[in-house]
Structures are given as structure tokens and as C-alpha cells.
């Protein structure tokens, strides 16, 4: 057996009181695809960030090709041949792909058109060799997310990396694009590169990797060969207990239509149509899942329904009466609650405590204020009660919510949104960034809402989650619903294909 190209021993990293990486040992070989598996928050990215010089370890040592290495910055890592493709890309939006790739290169001072042309050819050749196609001359903002990722990968290859780390590479890709990525990774592996990929998706791990390291809560749990293990074992290692992916038990409900949207057309930020002749219906006591790759209009749909965005044409009928103008207050007052995509950005005010955050939507009501004055004592006890009921773990009621864990922040947000018995909940990626336990809690809450007769519009990229919870799944692609399937007939592959924009799945495969 060959020597490992990357070896990390006893790596410790603490962020304040949290130990993100606790005595982690890790090794990967040249010519293999190594998957680092773990839940969100298990410490995968932290460990990889230390390998790529973004963070520095508090203790432990790193050996690259058998030599002890001092990686103090991304530059040091690059000199050692380590390149990382981050989840959120490090690209300059207004520069072209080629310009991004040569950015930071110090080799030549004079960069005439000839130099640039040579570089373009070099980049294209490099991309072709690894099966990475993208338009080199277009500015980044015009490229799709998948193409942007390819630019990032080529950038690391161009800089001569032979140890390539990909952080959750498939989280932004359609199933088809993901397949393509794995093909690329296999070419890189054959070229003798060390490919390390962090992920929490077991199917991908099984399909693409050679070896697997599993992390849980900052600790390295196991390192296995892929062909010697199976999904069930991995699941067990990852979460520490067995979880079966199964549909949530439910009773059929026959609710009246609660939300009817017809031929909705919404302008996007750049003038094109974000929503295009979109129609959908949500009934009472029904969870309607909206599947789709990010950027196909999900954000705009959620914003229109919650009053944050105006629409151009089409009609929205909620609870029997037509919605005339976009108004957040009107939406709140009519019983639409909203779990936004990014908790800390738009859902909570991190600097404020639990009381202020819980009052967001109800502070105008009789119950919480009178004549413009807040009922301070009453609001406090009300908050205390909600915090207790939803089991939010916070040191004190006034502790700034940014100090709570992601799971507790989401519980607090749900406490607020559920507390005024919404008729419709629009939940966008409600379990993003949560561990399995917290996600299960969120799922339970959504099922409770369904049970109590509310409608839920669940917008998520996590197909497992959608399959688990939804009564019906709608597939959204480029601003319209291009497919629908009820929960008996939901099929991963068909939905996956539709998410990539392939409409005609039933019969005529072209």
C-alpha cells in the first residue's frame, strides 16, 4: 500500500467553547476519491479548511506526501499543491472565467492580448482534459452555478493542485450535473490526483468514492473502503443511531382549496421573468412540496406569497378572497406565516434576545400592545412559555439569538411562526444547516401543522425531505411548475430529471 498523500494527526480546532474538530486523524491517498461524510455541523468543512489554510489548527500535525507541513495560509496550502473548491464560490462576478482563473498569477507583468489568448487556450485544454466544459470568455455572472463550479475546479487545477478538496460539491447541482462532476473526479483520480469531497449525501458517496471517512460531532468515527460498506452502516456511523428514510405516516385529508395561484408572472431582479405562468393550489391540511434547483423562481414564489414582492399578471386567491396587492402586513394578518431561506439574514435579528425575536409578527396585536405601548411583562411571560413549549435551549431570555445553535434558532423561528396558528405556512429550506435531530423536530412541526388543518408550501432542495413530508410534489423549473406527482407515485429519478428541465419523461424520450 502506498503512502498517503495527505495525513492529518490529532487535529484540534476550537471556536470559543465549541470544539469543531476534536483529535481528528485523517488520511487520503493519491489516485483515490475520498469522501468525508458527516451531518451538517459535524466538522467536515472545518477539518478541510485547516488543510487548505483557511483556519489554523490549535493542535495536531499535517503531513503532505509524508513531509510535515506548516500550513499557515491558503498560500502555503497552494504551494503544497492543495486546492479547495468552496461551497460558495470565490469568483469575481464581472470578470470572465479565464480572467478569474489567471487572477493572482504573478508570472508575467505584461498581459497583452496574445498572452491572454495563450492562457485561454491553455485553460480550455485543461478543462477538456478533465471533462470540464464552460465558456471561458463570458463573465461569471452569466454562467450557471454548475458552470461556475467548473471554473472553480479548473482554477485549482490550473494552479497545479494535486490535492483537490471539494466542499459539498453537489449541493448546488442538478442530478445530471452531479453525474458529470463525478465523471470529472474519476478522470482526476486516474491522473493521480488526490480528490477529497465533503458531503452528507450517502447515495453519492456510495456511487462515486473509493474510501470514506465519517465524522460525527467533531470526531472522526471511522474510515472505510466504499465497497466494504453500505448505506445503512454509514447512516448508523453518521448519526450514531439508525434512521430509516421513510415517509411520514399520515391520514388522507380532504381540505378545501386554501391557496390558488393562477398564471402568475413575476419580474426578476434583472428584468426577465422569474415566475412564468405559474399555477398551483394548496389545500387545507396538505403539504405541497416544491422541488427544484435553486434559482428557478422558488425565492420569488415565496416572496410573492408572503407579500414581499409584487407580481405583474395573474391572480392569487387565498382563503377564498383574492389578494390584490403585495403587503407583508396583509399577508401576516391573513394568516400566512413564513420560514425564510436564511434564518439569520431575514428571519431573526441576531443581536436581539428571544422576546424581541418572538414578537416580530404579533407585536401589533391587541394581545401584545395597547395604544402603541408594548405590554412588556406579559410579552415576557408569553415568550418564556413559547421557549419552553418549543424546547428552545437558550441561557437566558435576553441572550442574543446569534449565540444560539442553528437548531435552536430554527426552533425559535418556528415557535414564532406557529404561535399564531397560521392558515398557510411557506417554509423555504426549513432544515438547511440543521443536524438530523433538529431536522426531525422541524418535520414533526410541519406534520403537526398539516394535522391541524393548515396548508404548508414546502420549498426545498432536499428531495429526501420532500418525499418524506409532501402530499404532492411540484417540480419547478425556470419559473413554472413543469411536473406534479402525488406521494404514492413520487419517483426520485423522474423528479430529478424534471429538476434538470427535462419535461417529457413519460413517453417520448428524445
Amino acid at each position: 500500500m502506498q503512502d498517503p498523500s495527505v495525513e492529518m494527526r490529532g487535529i484540534v480546532k476550537k471556536f470559543g467553547a465549541v470544539t469543531a474538530s476534536d483529535q481528528v486523524d485523517f488520511s487520503a491517498n493519491a489516485g483515490e476519491i475520498h469522501a468525508l461524510l458527516g451531518e451538517n455541523g459535524a466538522g467536515k468543512s472545518t477539518v478541510m479548511s485547516m488543510l487548505s489554510g483557511v483556519y489554523r489548527a490549535d493542535a495536531g500535525e499535517i503531513l503532505i506526501h509524508g513531509q510535515p507541513a506548516r500550513i499557515r495560509s491558503p498560500k502555503d496550502a497552494a504551494l503544497l499543491g492543495i486546492g479547495m473548491v468552496f461551497q460558495n464560490f470565490r469568483l469575481v462576478q464581472s470578470l470572465t472565467a479565464a480572467e478569474n482563473i489567471v487572477l493572482g498569477e504573478k508570472s508575467s507583468f505584461w498581459r497583452g492580448s496574445k498572452w491572454m489568448r495563450n492562457k485561454r487556450e491553455e485553460i480550455e485544454a485543461l478543462g477538456e482534459r478533465f471533462g470540464l466544459k464552460f465558456p471561458v470568455d463570458r463573465p461569471i455572472w452569466q454562467l450557471s452555478v454548475g458552470e461556475q463550479q467548473r471554473v472553480e475546479i479548473v482554477k485549482t487545477l490550473y494552479r497545479g493542485a494535486d490535492i483537490i478538496i471539494l466542499d459539498e460539491p453537489t449541493s448546488v447541482l442538478t442530478p445530471g450535473e452531479a453525474e458529470q462532476l463525478f465523471a470529472t473526479l474519476r478522470v482526476m483520480k486516474q491522473a493521480g490526483k488526490t480528490v477529497i469531497m465533503t458531503t452528507h449525501k450517502m447515495k453519492e458517496v456510495m456511487a462515486s468514492s473509493d474510501r470514506i471517512s465519517v465524522m460525527r460531532k467533531g470526531k472522526m468515527i471511522a474510515a472505510l473502503k466504499t465497497h466494504e460498506t453500505d448505506e445503512l452502516e454509514l447512516a448508523r456511523l453518521m448519526v450514531g443511531r439508525e434512521i430509516a428514510i421513510s415517509r411520514q405516516e399520515r391520514e388522507a385529508t380532504e381540505g378545501a382549496p386554501l391557496l390558488v395561484v393562477r398564471n402568475l408572472e413575476v419580474a426578476a431582479d434583472h428584468g426577465r421573468n422569474a415566475l412564468d405562468a405559474l399555477s398551483l393550489t394548496v389545500h387545507e391540511g396538505e403539504i405541497v412540496g416544491v422541488a427544484g434547483v435553486a434559482g428557478n423562481g422558488q425565492k420569488e414564489l415565496a416572496e410573492v406569497l408572503t407579500g414581499l414582492r409584487t407580481w405583474r399578471t395573474g391572480e392569487i386567491i387565498f382563503d377564498g378572497s383574492p389578494v390584490k396587492t403585495a403587503s407583508v402586513r396583509a399577508a401576516i394578518d391573513s394568516g400566512i406565516s413564513h420560514v425564510p431561506e436564511n434564518r439569520m439574514k431575514s428571519g431573526l435579528a441576531g443581536r436581539l434576545g428571544s422576546v424581541d425575536n418572538l414578537l416580530f409578527k404579533s407585536y401589533r396585536s391587541e394581545e401584545h400592545s395597547r395604544f402603541g405601548f408594548l405590554k412588556a411583562a406579559r410579552n415576557r411571560s408569553w415568550s418564556q412559555e413559547l421557549v419552553r413549549r418549543f424546547n428552545v435551549k437558550t441561557p437566558e431570555l435576553d441572550t442574543p439569538v446569534q449565540q444560539l445553535s442553528g437548531g435552536n434558532q430554527q426552533k425559535l423561528l418556528f415557535a414564532r411562526e406557529v404561535s399564531h396558528q397560521p392558515k398557510l405556512m411557506v417554509a423555504v429550506h426549513p432544515t438547511q444547516g440543521l443536524d438530523v435531530g433538529a431536522a426531525a423536530g422541524v418535520h414533526e412541526l410541519l406534520m403537526e401543522l398539516r394535522g391541524s388543518g393548515s396548508g404548508v408550501l414546502l420549498i426545498s432542495e432536499d428531495l429526501d425531505e420532500l418525499l418524506q413530508l409532501s402530499d404532492r410534489i411540484l417540480v419547478m423549473y425556470s419559473g413554472s411548475i413543469i411536473g406534479e406527482s402525488d406521494h404514492e407515485h413520487a419517483d426520485r429519478e423522474v423528479i430529478g430529471l424534471m429538476m434538470a428541465g427535462i419535461r417529457s419523461v413519460e413517453g417520448s424520450a428524445v
Partner: protein, 371 residues
């Protein structure tokens, strides 16, 4: 995995100091530490005093003697103290207005202009309604002064909310508009016919002047200021409006998601901010100078920015910092007798702001020892 909640610390590039064989130091930037502790203002004042001590010493004076003189001049005698309070009144009112706006990150630096138009509007009452009884005259001056300041604030707010114009620029530019308008009226239409051709309005009658405390110059404007502080404190803490401001200040996006109209609040806040500065202007002409003239404000509107910042926008802290800065101005006058320019107080003001802002920034860094 995303960084830990609350401390998304990112390591900046290592310090160039590779000192020592056993350890090296590095800086860590923690963007979540947006609030500096209560003692940074105190430390800023101390550091500013030390820095300026260097300049004083370079001028061949003993800093201790100078500071003692300033302290004595500002707070040591009853005359000095009432003078300090006289200066503190416009600082308190303008500072409060600035604090309201800064709370939701509306960067109003136009208090100087808002104060000026407030003073002009109050003077307009004395010119166009010269014979009103005392009470009505004062009330009308107050109403006009407030309204003019608020209008001036509105002229900053509306371009911001409706056309996305940066309020820093409009509010600053409107200062010059106000000052030039002041020049125009005191050299032109409102010039005192019996004033030997000096620029300035006729001197106010007793009915047009604010009541003063005994034989001092301390006028009832102090009560306006204290009442405004109290009202503001109560509203911020206990009302829906205060809650909305708190939300906007903490996270404007989340506030929008909660159905709060940011534009409406920007307008309200700028009306209040300008209105308070307008009251300060009215109090200045009616309580102190008793006529409108050039240089009605020696930069109160700008100094008030430092006052508000030093108080960390806290209404009760504002009382302390405005008295401190009032003292600084009066103390500056008193050192003139020993041959130093009064601009020493401006130097101190500038140094305090410098350390304050530096402190807010430095606070976000941590020095860590790394193996």
C-alpha cells in the same frame, strides 16, 4: 459546514511579526462583535487626553496645568458651569436627533443645517409677528423652529427613500444651503435697520426670549433637552415604535420580513432628527444670542455627532457626553488666558472621535498566540 453561530471568526493574514522562537502572534477578525464594551468611550477620552498632552508639551506648556485650567474653567465656578450647560443644550438636542437617526443607520450629518434653519424660522416669527404676547411668541417660535428643522430633515429623507440618494451627501450639502441662506437674510432682508450696517437681525424683545435662570445665561432650553431625552428613552423602551426601530437597527431585512415599512421609518426618524436640531436652533437664538447672526452655531451640529457616538446612542449617556463636550468648549475658551488657542478643544474633540472609531474597529480583532 457553516462557521459557528455567534463567532464567525476568520483568520486574516498572519502578522508579519514572526518574533520569538517559541510562539508567534496573529490577529483574528470576528465580524460578529459589532458592539464594543461600555468602557471604550471612557478609554477613548483618556487616550485623547494623552495624545493632546503631547501636543501641548510640544508647545512648551505643561499639559497638567492646561487640563487643570480647562477643568476649572468649565466646571470649577458657578459661572463656568452654567456656561458649560448653555453649550450642552444644543449639543444634547442635536445629539439626540442624531442618535435617533443613527439607531436605524440613517447617517444624518445635517444637524448643523437643521439647527440653522430652526434658528431662522424662529427669527422669522419675531420679524413677521413682532407684537405677540410672550407665551404665544415663544410657542410659535418653537413650532416654527421645529417644523423648519423637520422640513430640512425631510429634504434628506425623501431623496433617500424614493430615489436612493445617499443621505450623507444630501444632509451635508444642505448644511451649506442653510448657512448661505442665513447669510442672505442677515445681510439682506432681515438686517437690523438700527444695527450700524452690521449683519444680523434686530435684537429680540424680552417677550421673544426664553426665560433664564437668575442672572446666568442658562435658559429653559435645558428643560426642552431633558424632556426630549426622557420622552425618547420611554418611547424606545416601551412603545411599538421603539420596538420597530430596534428591529430595523438590528436587522433591516428581518424587519422588512416582519412587515415594517423601512421607508416610512426613515422619514419619521429624519423628521424627528431635524425637528430636534430645529429646537436647538430656536433655543440658541431665543435663549442665548437674542438675535439671528452669522456663526449662530460654532459647529454644534458636527460636535453633536461625536457626542452621540460617544454616548453610544444611549439617551441617558447623551446627557453626560453633551455636558462633557460643553465643558470642553468652555474649557477651550479659558485656556486662551494662558496663551493657548481655544482650538485646543477642537483638537481634543477630534482625537476623541478618532480613538472612538478606532476602538470600535480594533475591538473586532483578537490577538491570538499560535504555535
Amino acid at each position: 459546514m457553516s462557521p459557528k453561530p455567534g463567532s464567525d471568526s476568520v483568520v486574516l493574514k498572519p502578522l508579519p511579526m514572526r518574533s520569538g522562537r517559541w510562539y508567534s502572534l496573529r490577529l483574528e477578525y470576528d465580524s460578529s462583535r459589532t458592539r464594543s464594551p461600555w468602557w471604550t468611550p471612557v478609554l477613548s477620552v483618556i487616550l485623547a487626553l494623552l495624545l493632546c498632552a503631547g501636543f501641548i508639551a510640544a508647545n512648551g506648556m505643561s499639559p497638567l496645568v492646561v487640563y487643570e485650567k480647562m477643568l476649572r474653567g468649565a466646571f470649577g465656578t458657578s459661572y463656568g458651569f452654567t456656561e458649560t450647560m448653555v453649550k450642552a443644550i444644543p449639543l444634547l438636542l442635536c445629539g439626540l436627533g442624531i442618535a435617533v437617526a443613527y439607531r436605524i443607520s440613517v447617517w444624518n450629518i445635517g444637524a448643523e443645517g437643521q439647527l440653522t434653519v430652526g434658528a431662522m424660522a424662529a427669527t422669522a416669527v419675531t420679524i413677521y409677528f413682532p407684537d405677540l404676547p410672550s407665551f404665544w411668541s415663544i410657542v410659535l417660535m418653537l413650532v416654527f423652529g421645529t417644523a423648519a428643522g423637520a422640513l430640512w430633515g425631510l429634504m434628506t429623507a425623501v431623496p433617500r427613500t424614493h430615489f436612493g440618494v445617499n443621505e450623507l451627501i444630501t444632509s451635508l450639502m444642505l448644511n451649506y444651503v442653510a448657512l448661505l441662506a442665513l447669510d442672505y437674510v442677515v445681510f439682506g432682508p432681515w438686517k437690523d435697520p438700527k444695527g450700524f450696517n452690521f449683519p444680523g437681525s434686530p435684537v429680540f424683545t424680552a417677550a421673544q426670549s426664553l426665560p433664564v435662570l437668575g442672572s446666568t445665561r442658562l435658559h429653559i432650553g435645558l428643560v426642552f433637552g431633558l424632556v426630549a431625552v426622557l420622552l425618547y428613552y420611554l418611547m424606545i423602551r416601551f412603545t411599538r415604535w421603539g420596538y420597530e426601530l430596534r428591529l430595523i437597527g438590528a436587522n433591516p431585512t428581518a424587519a422588512r420580513y416582519a412587515g415594517i415599512h423601512l421607508k416610512k421609518h426613515i422619514i419619521i426618524v429624519m423628521l424627528i432628527s431635524g425637528g430636534l436640531a430645529g429646537i436647538a436652533g430656536m433655543a440658541e437664538v431665543s435663549g442665548v444670542t437674542h438675535k439671528l447672526m452669522q456663526g449662530i452655531s460654532p459647529g454644534y451640529g458636527y460636535t453633536a455627532i461625536i457626542v452621540a457616538w460617544l454616548a453610544k446612542l444611549n439617551p441617558l449617556g447623551l446627557i453626560v457626553t453633551s455636558i462633557l463636550f460643553g465643558g470642553l468648549i468652555v474649557g477651550g475658551y479659558s485656556v486662551q488666558t494662558i496663551g493657548l488657542p481655544s482650538s485646543i478643544s477642537e483638537m481634543l474633540q477630534g482625537a476623541i472621535l478618532f480613538f472612538l472609531i478606532a476602538g470600535d474597529m480594533i475591538h473586532r480583532f483578537r490577538i491570538r498566540r499560535s504555535a
